[in-house]
Symmetry: C2
Subunit: 203 residues, 2 copies
Amino acid sequence: MTAKNVSTEENILNVAREVFMRNGYSGTTMQRIADEAGINKSLLHYYYRSKEKLFGQIFAEVFSQFIPELGKIFMTDMSLEEKIRAFVDSYIEGFIRNPLIPIFVMQELSTNPQNLADLIRKSGIDPEMVIRTIMESLKKEDLNIQDPKQFMVNMIGLCVFPFAAQPLIQRLIFNNDEKAYSKFLLERKHEVSEFLLNAIRKG
Amino acid sequence: MTAKNVSTEENILNVAREVFMRNGYSGTTMQRIADEAGINKSLLHYYYRSKEKLFGQIFAEVFSQFIPELGKIFMTDMSLEEKIRAFVDSYIEGFIRNPLIPIFVMQELSTNPQNLADLIRKSGIDPEMVIRTIMESLKKEDLNIQDPKQFMVNMIGLCVFPFAAQPLIQRLIFNNDEKAYSKFLLERKHEVSEFLLNAIRKG
DNA sequence: ATATGGTTTAACCATTCGGACAAAAGTATA
DNA sequence: TATACTTTTGTCCGAATGGTTAAACCATAT
């Protein structure tokens, strides 16, 4: 395995990830990936035997990228307030760097929920465990959280949604001003934490 | 135009809507639509000249279905609290009836944002106007809303997200228990309103 | 009976994935 | 250097499937 090997193989993966994320599985052709990678189709099959395998590998990577972080944050001994801030910061920051991830993952899982179980197994994560930890963490403190599951969905949704719905929001609320939208997203780190903490404050 | 005409034409539209919503544009073949509609490919082209036109019509319908409601609610003379409750109720209810809409619309607009402008024009809605009305409505009352745009995204996101991410949430948080998830969604109408109102309460 | 409009059959052409094959270029090793 | 092995390219192919069109068929209403 020489240096060139690695770089080609990884280059394919990078390009393919980009193309798949922008166009989805069926919106992507092997030819297109080859073109954008500056190689030819044959080489794609040389490294990754089929379209499905290539996609599978990429999706698994992208998918499993964000789960462990979640668990880690909620297993520290920070206060719940700090955990929430840390979570929101970390996820929004991650999505700013990779804005296509939310829609990509949700879209694929929506048309193809079967292999979600497989994915979870392969990723080596125990979601049960992570969820339980978060639940515990939420119940522990004396806050206005009736249903931890609802709260979790609220928290994640507030982070994810602006990225999944970017084109719509940018157009409808920001007159298609891309700069303004970027600023909006940056400000969201603060906005979402405060919003969440306000919502669960007692009294 | 005989009775059969209408029913066939509409039947195609219904089937196509279903298939397109589940699989997206490029994930859908005319053959598949024809099969599921119990007719053959040619008849599809007889009624709708091309795949693109068929899809376009369906997408426009689905898309424009949810915008006017938003404007209507925020232009009444209800209190802001009532408006928020009405909005959340109405949208979550709508999504419960059509759970695939969020991911469908977001996915399509994500890979194809160009024609969003067209769509808005065709739908006969003035989003500027709607947004402005909402903004006014938000500013008017003495509540803890720093940035109305952030608040709007929060409100919409909390309604939309659980539907867009259904497979993921259902699996990860509800052990794939569909019943439990339906219940969760129903309870969300109350949860989201309360959550929003708590978050913007002064003090 | 004929004209009309819904429907089917059959075929067309382009594109897709997957691969076979031969040859060139590159790399390692003896 | 000579030799063997790996990577990369180019070309072409086959089977399948894609969207689309033209023509024929059929029922019905005039």
